[in-house]
Symmetry: C2
DNA sequence: GGTGTGACTGCAAAGGTTTGCAGCCGAAGT
DNA sequence: ACTTCGGCTGCAAACCTTTGCAGTCACACC
């Protein structure tokens, strides 16, 4: 039976020097004396095959160590049961909870998640979308740094759901960081601060723009000055590097693009001998686990990352099962229910007050926002609205 | 040219209700008036096609938004240029540096890395290997929790490189945590501690066994008692949960399976009013970034995670390019150089002394290792060697 | 006894690509 | 003028599955 002749076509799972060449459906068919279609059905539609036959096939498959080739299967079914998840930086503690939530949700629906990291590099993002495109049924694009137009273009190649970004025509789930930033600024001005700084995030970040827009507006209505520092890498290092600027700006409170930068800033201030919150108050955004571990514990804006992960998977899959249905079937009827539900879900955020914020120090210095070092200082409360950030939040957004 | 008739076979990249059905190689061939094989060569072997033709094909491809279907390509070439990386818990800060190093190394060699998380669940591990199997050229199995025999079996389905584990016959890269644990114990006994505890890691962890083996031996030769607590989940929570046990054990120094547990333990001790390092010294393993951020800064064993990631990719790819070559070609010659180089690389570790360890407190209490709560207490310095852990480190291991 | 039925199985096309081989054509060598 | 060659292109098989359709067979029903 198992002749070891290595011929033109290597036979069923023969051992070659310890390396077993993987058995195919054909090998199983041959071994169990049935047609390959029967083997196929044994796995994908067991009720269609005689129990007796099925057992025999199963036994042979087991014996040969046969595993259906998912790539080949995907080629014809058009379904891989995989989801891609592209994040900017896997080392940023913001992402793991989101990833895990997405994974768990996917698992429930019998999908697997493949994660890829772009190192904050827009080019790597595009590259990865192409690499994943035909191996997954859709991609979750998390905090993308590339341009909207590129995203739209890519979305024609593979179903996309964007997270932490709004791009018209695409399903999206965003955290309401605008609201969060407003709460943070109000918290600070409520404590008496009226000379604030904002540590901006990376270039290309939708979230960063939103925060800036909201923070600017909130500061204006509280008659406070807001110095914007950035763009910066959204890391601890990005925070440390700004300590000097913060001191020079003479502000008494800082809102950072994320917790990592806030923590880095606190480190930097510490080594400059500036005490938090006695001399400078610091607020982060994200509420990563770490923010409870540092001293002082970080006041921050909690974002519902887990919910975002789950929701994104749901949106993709809902979207996607429709697509799967549309995909096959001889004539592609342009069904009326094909109308894409490009919902944009917005998730609420909340302020978590801990120990890194406190009342404005008695009288540090009367200076108000000197020439900002890195970038534009906000011109003040009575200037016209920032035209760059005038694009309003998409009105079709839904709360959830 | 672009007739919009939706026939049996939908033509080249026609817009249907805003959804562009992706163009195939055939569409491009038709549009540019050449055979599909020419189109194929335009992309995979450009020097074989007339520059003029090539330009025309390229233009058509561009215009139709054609992207080669990587799944189909993989089906025939047997190469996907993807690598799978399976980790136990992506939220554990130990992994991201390893992942990033692997990604960067892979990128240099024109490969992509897909990461998947198993939630410390052995069943999920197996599941993921199958899911990834035919979509990647090999899998990096990082800190696997499943049995050796299962790993061996899976390795017949897809090339595997294991990290943080030794399984005979498989290429592996491990960190010398044994050495690290020994250094840690010696550091502690050198500070006068002779009543120690070890916070074990999760069940099924090779690393945990290694640490235990080495720590036990090191304690024995220093005439110190070692209470082993575990197994535990390798998380902050796992550390917190053991604070009470540590107190009851009456030890003055603790070595934890990893930094996360050490940090958790410090938190737990803190809320019990026990000061670190004045009353209890704590040592972690891994040297994650966080260990420099907590107070007191954590003394720990630095593991070369980035090097491990790089090395693992190299080993897989070296292994793998050989396999690719072997894979095609009519008659599969059982080449002599097919001898698999199942090298097992061992990476050195080193002790980083920070602020969480100090000299043994003057006279806390004379008790020596009372009945351990969770598991076996070490029987003492003069008992016979632990038979369970007698399996020595594989002698074919190489330093690197 | 013919017909219908249902359970099972085989046939073959399809999915998108790569690649060895063969063919064509024009230019160069003899 | 005839071969040779090289550059380019087409042909068709192959990779491994899934699935609509049709065929076989036994069995029960009328």
């Amino acid at each position: 039976m198992t002749s070891t002749t290595v011929g033109h076509r290597t036979p069923a799972g023969v051992e070659i020097e310890g390396t077993r060449v993987p058995a195919t459906i054909r090998d199983v068919a041959r071994a169990s004396g049935v047609h390959i279609s029967t083997v196929s059905r044994t796995f994908s539609a067991p009720h269609l095959v005689n129990p007796e036959t099925r057992l025999r096939v199963l036994a042979c498959a087991e014996h040969l160590g046969y595993r259906p080739n998912r790539a080949a299967r995907a080629l014809i079914t058009g379904r891989t049961h995989n989801i891609g998840l592209i994040v900017a930086d896997i080392a940023n503690p913001f992402f793991p909870p989101l990833i895990k939530a997405a994974e768990s949700q996917a698992r429930h629906r019998d999908y697997h998640i493949f994660v890829a990291d772009t190192n904050e590099d827009p080019a790597a993002e595009e590259d990865l979308v192409h690499a994943l495109a035909k191996q997954v049924d859709g991609i979750l694009l998390c905090s993308p740094r590339m341009s909207n137009s590129l995203i739209e273009q890519l979305s024609r190649e593979v179903p996309l759901v964007v997270i932490n970004r709004q791009v018209t025509g695409l399903p999206a789930v965003v955290m309401d960081v605008g609201q969060g930033a407003r709460l943070a600024i109000e918290h600070l001005t409520g404590l008496g601060h009226h000379n604030l700084a904002l540590l901006g995030g990376p270039r290309g970040s939708w979230t960063s723009r939103e925060i800036r827009r909201a923070a600017t507006a909130a500061a204006r209505s509280a008659d406070a000055a807001l110095t914007v520092l950035g763009p910066n890498p959204p890391t601890e290092g990005g925070g440390i590097a700004n300590a000097e600027q913060v001191r020079r700006a003479g502000v008494t409170a800082v809102l950072a693009y994320n917790d990592l930068m806030a923590i880095g800033l606190m480190e930097g201030l510490d080594s400059l001998g500036i005490r938090v919150p006695q001399e400078v108050s610091v607020v982060g955004i994200d509420d990563i686990a770490l923010s409870r571990l540092v001293r002082p514990k970080l006041t921050t804006v909690a974002t519902p990352t887990a919910a975002a992960g789950r929701t994104a998977v749901d949106m993709l899959l809902q979207h996607d099962s429709a697509a799967a249905h549309r995909n096959r079937g001889g004539n592609r009827t342009v069904a009326a229910d094909d109308r894409r539900t490009t919902a944009q879900v917005m998730l609420q955020t909340e302020l978590v007050i801990r120990d890194s914020t406190g009342p404005r120090p008695p009288a540090v210095s009367g200076r108000t926002s000197p020439a900002a070092t890195t970038t534009t200082a906000d011109p003040g409360p009575h200037s016209p609205a920032d035209p760059v950030n005038a694009a309003a939040v998409n009105p079709e957004a839904v709360a959830s």
